[in-house]
C-alpha cells in the first residue's frame, strides 16, 4: 500500500504556487476534529445500540481523508457529501448540536425529521443535504460548479463518494460532464475497500479508481487516505488547479472502513479479522497522534484532554436534544412545494382531525 501521493497523472501540470504545509496550529486543530469525529462516532454507535437513535453510519478509519480534504477547502466552496462525511461536516463548522438533533430526528432538527440519521445538510454551511441513492451528488456538483463559473464566483465544488459509487450512473455522467466543461470540481473518492459486502477488487477491474479519470480527460490521483498531510496536499493542489482554470480532478483516498457499513450490517459475514487488524495498525488517528507527538505539538495529557472535552461536549448535546420536544406532527406536509397546495391542505386537515379526536397518535 503506497504511503504517499502517487499521481497517475501529475496534478501539478497547471499548478503554479507550491502548496504550503499547514501551520502547527492547523495541524493540532485537524487532529482535534479527528478526535471529535471518532468520539462522536463511538457515542452514536452506542446510542443506536440503546435504541435512542434509529440507525447510524460510522466513519471510523476515514477521519484523516475527511479532515484532510475538507481542511483544504474554503468555506465558500460547496460540499456535496454522501452519508458518511461526519468529519467533513465538523471541519465545516456545523455545530454538533445540529448533527445530534438530526440523528435523533428531534424538534431541533433543521431538516424537520425528514431524513434518516447521517443524511443532513445545511445551506448556510455550503454543505448540501445528502440523499441515500449513491452517486447522484456527483453530477450535481458539476452543475453547481458550472453555475459558479457562470457567475464568475471563484469557488469550487467537491463531491464525496465511495469506491462502490464509481460504478453508478452519475459517476460516469458527472466526470464526463466535468471533463467536457472543465469545471472547478474535485471528485473525492474515499476508497474504503468495501461497498457493504463487495470488496474493491470486485467493484471494478481497474487497477485503481483514480485511473478512471484518464478516460474522461482529467487527472486522477491516488493518495494515502490515512495520512492527513498527504490528503491535504492533494486536495489543496487540485483546488488551486481548478480555480486557476485547470479543470476537475479525481482523487482516490485509500482508506479502510474500520466499522460496519452501518448499524444494520455485520462485516464478519464477508471479511476477515486479519484484514481488519492489518488496517487497524494503520489507524489514521494513531498515526497523526504520533506525528504530532514527534513534532512536540501534542503530549499524552493534551491528547487525553481533547478526548475528555469531546466526550463532554457530545454528552451535553445529546442531553439537550433529548430534552427537546419532538417534531410537530403536522410538519411533514410542509416543504413538498413552496406553498402547500389545496389538496394537501385538505389531507393535513384530515390528519389534524384524526389527531384531535385521538384516533391516531404521533
Amino acid at each position: 500500500m503506497p504511503g504517499l501521493v502517487l499521481a497517475d497523472r501529475a496534478p501539478a501540470e497547471t499548478t503554479s504556487a507550491p502548496i504550503p504545509e499547514p501551520a502547527p496550529a492547523e495541524l493540532v486543530r485537524a487532529y482535534r476534529t479527528m478526535v471529535f469525529a471518532r468520539a462522536m462516532d463511538e457515542r452514536c454507535l452506542t446510542l443506536q445500540r440503546q435504541g435512542r437513535i434509529g440507525f447510524y453510519v460510522p466513519l471510523q478509519g476515514q477521519e484523516a481523508a475527511q479532515v484532510g480534504s475538507a481542511s483544504a477547502l474554503r468555506p465558500e466552496d460547496w460540499i456535496f457529501p454522501a452519508y458518511r462525511e461526519l468529519a467533513v461536516a465538523l471541519v465545516r463548522g456545523i455545530p454538533i448540536q445540529l448533527l445530534i438533533d438530526q440523528f435523533f430526528g428531534s424538534g431541533g432538527d433543521e431538516l424537520k425529521g425528514r431524513q434518516m440519521p447521517n443524511h443532513y445538510g445545511y445551506r448556510r454551511f455550503n454543505f448540501v443535504t445528502a440523499s441515500s441513492p449513491v452517486g447522484t451528488q456527483i453530477s450535481q456538483a458539476v452543475g453547481t460548479a458550472l453555475a459558479a463559473r457562470y457567475r464568475r464566483e471563484p469557488i469550487l465544488t467537491i463531491a464525496y463518494f465511495g469506491d462502490g459509487t464509481t460504478s453508478s450512473n452519475d459517476f460516469h455522467a458527472g466526470l464526463n460532464l466535468a471533463g467536457v466543461f472543465q469545471t472547478p470540481t474535485i471528485f473525492f473518492c474515499q476508497n474504503n475497500q468495501w461497498a457493504i459486502s463487495l470488496p474493491r477488487e470486485r467493484q471494478t477491474h481497474s487497477t485503481t479508481l483514480a485511473v478512471k479519470a484518464e478516460a474522461y480527460g482529467l487527472p486522477g490521483v491516488v493518495v494515502d487516505g490515512t495520512d492527513f498531510r498527504a490528503v491535504y496536499a492533494a486536495v489543496a493542489a487540485a483546488r488551486q488547479r481548478a480555480l486557476g482554470g485547470g479543470g476537475p480532478t479525481l482523487i482516490e483516498a485509500q482508506v479502510y472502513r474500520l466499522g460496519p457499513h452501518s448499524t444494520s450490517d455485520d462485516p464478519k459475514r464477508y471479511r476477515t479479522d486479519e484484514e481488519l487488524n492489518a488496517w487497524k495498525a494503520r489507524d489514521p488517528l494513531a498515526r497523526f497522534k504520533l506525528e504530532l507527538m514527534d513534532a512536540k505539538l501534542l503530549n499524552e495529557d493534551q491528547d487525553h484532554a481533547l478526548w475528555e472535552a469531546a466526550r463532554q461536549e457530545i454528552a451535553r448535546a445529546v442531553a439537550q436534544t433529548e430534552a427537546t420536544p419532538p417534531v410537530p406532527p403536522l410538519s411533514f406536509f410542509d416543504d413538498v412545494y413552496a406553498v402547500v397546495p389545496p389538496a394537501l391542505q385538505e389531507e393535513r386537515r384530515s390528519l389534524e382531525q384524526l389527531l384531535a379526536a385521538g384516533t391516531v397518535r404521533p
Partner: protein
C-alpha cells in the same frame, strides 16, 4: 408444510427454482457472500455457486440490463434491487427495455425475468428506504406487478412469477419479512398470478389491499367485527394483471369499498381501482369509494407512524364507509 417467515419463504422459492431449473440465475448487490441485506438469499451462493448467485458491482442499471441480456438468451434471471427506492437508476432499462422488448420485436424477443425488490415503510427507513413505488410500474404496459402478503403466497407467487413468460416485478413487503409467519407448502407450490385472495369474508364493506397493509386491514376488520360490522378483506396479490372479477364480485356483495395502500394517494394504484369501480360497479355502490393511503408528501422519517395508514385510520375509514349513504 413448514412454518416460515415471509423472507424465509422467498428464500425457499429461490432455492427451489435454482434446484430445478439450471436457467435460473440470481444477481444483485450483496446477495452472495452476504446473503442479501435482508438475508433473502442466505446460503444460496454457498450451495449453488458464484456463477449462479452473482454479487454485482453497485449499478442497478447494470444489474437489470445484464438480466435482460440473459433473458434474451434464454436464461431465467432473477435480479434483486436492494431496496425498491434504488430502482430508479434502472428505470430506463425497466420501462424502455424490459417492458417493451417482446412488443418492439413483434414477439421475437420475450424477456421473462423476475425482478425482486423489498419495498415499503414502517422500518424507520426515511425517504429512501421506505417508498412504495408500485404505481410507476403498474402504469407501464408489458410488466406484471406482484406483491405477496403471507409466507405461503410469497413462495407460491414467486414460483409462478419465475415460470411466467413475461417480466414480473416482485415487490416484497420488508416490514413484514419477519413479523409474519405461516405454514408454507413444501416443493413446487404455485399461486397463479392474477388471482386475488379473500383473506376474510364479510358482507358490509369490502377492503382492498396488498402487501404489508393486509395484516393491518385484517386487524381493523376484526376490531369492527366487535362493533357488528362485517368486513371483507381482499388481498389483491397481483396488481398487474388485476383480478377484476374478484374486485367487482366483492363490491356487488357489500356495496361499499375501502382501498388501502401505503403509497401516496394521487395517481396511486388505488385510483385505478376506484376508477374501475366507478366504471363497472357504480350501481352496486351504496357509498362513495374511500381510499386510505400514504399522504401526498415524500416519506417522512420521524413521523412515519402518522404518514402510514395504521389500524386506527383504516378502521375509522371502514366505519364511516359502513355508515355512509
Amino acid at each position: 408444510m413448514t412454518e416460515l417467515t415471509l423472507v424465509q419463504a422467498v428464500n425457499r422459492a429461490l432455492r427451489h427454482a435454482l434446484q430445478n431449473d439450471p436457467n435460473v440465475i440470481l444477481l444483485g448487490e450483496d446477495i452472495g457472500v452476504n446473503g442479501g441485506v435482508f438475508r433473502a438469499t442466505e446460503g444460496l451462493q454457498k450451495d449453488f455457486g458464484a456463477e449462479r448467485v452473482i454479487d454485482t458491482p453497485l449499478s442497478e442499471t447494470g444489474i437489470v440490463g445484464a438480466a435482460i441480456g440473459m433473458a434474451l438468451y434464454g436464461l431465467r434471471p432473477i435480479p434483486e434491487i436492494q431496496f425498491q427506492d434504488f430502482i430508479f437508476p434502472a428505470f430506463d432499462q425497466i420501462v424502455s427495455e424490459l417492458a417493451k422488448f417482446r412488443y418492439r420485436s413483434g414477439g421475437q424477443y420475450p424477456c421473462p425475468l423476475v425482478l425482486r425488490a423489498p419495498y415499503g415503510g414502517g422500518i424507520k427507513g426515511g425517504l429512501y428506504h421506505s417508498q412504495s413505488n408500485e404505481a410507476y410500474f403498474a402504469h407501464t404496459p408489458g410488466l406484471k406487478v406482484v406483491i405477496p402478503s403471507s409466507p405461503a403466497d410469497a413462495k407460491g407467487l414467486l414460483l409462478s412469477s419465475i415460470a411466467d413468460e413475461d417480466p414480473v416485478l416482485f415487490f416484497e413487503p420488508k416490514r413484514i419479512y419477519r413479523s409474519v409467519t405461516g405454514e408454507v407448502p413444501d416443493g413446487d407450490h404455485r399461486v397463479p398470478l392474477g388471482t386475488a385472495a379473500t383473506v376474510r369474508e364479510g358482507t358490509d364493506v369490502s377492503v382492498f389491499c396488498y402487501g404489508a397493509m393486509v395484516p393491518l386491514c385484517t386487524a381493523a376488520a376484526e376490531r369492527l367485527a366487535n362493533d357488528g360490522t362485517s368486513v371483507e378483506v381482499v388481498d389483491l396479490r397481483t396488481l398487474v394483471p388485476l383480478d377484476e372479477p374478484a374486485l367487482l364480485a366483492s363490491v356487488e356483495k357489500t356495496g361499499r369499498a375501502v382501498i388501502v395502500h401505503e403509497a401516496p394517494r394521487f395517481c396511486g394504484y388505488g385510483a385505478e381501482l376506484a376508477a374501475i369501480l366507478a366504471e363497472k360497479a357504480l350501481y352496486s355502490l351504496q357509498a362513495p369509494v374511500c381510499r386510505v393511503t400514504g399522504y401526498d408528501t415524500p416519506f417522512p422519517y420521524a413521523l412515519e407512524n402518522l404518514y402510514l395508514p395504521g389500524v386506527e385510520r383504516i378502521a375509522e375509514a371502514i366505519r364511516s364507509t359502513a355508515r355512509a349513504g
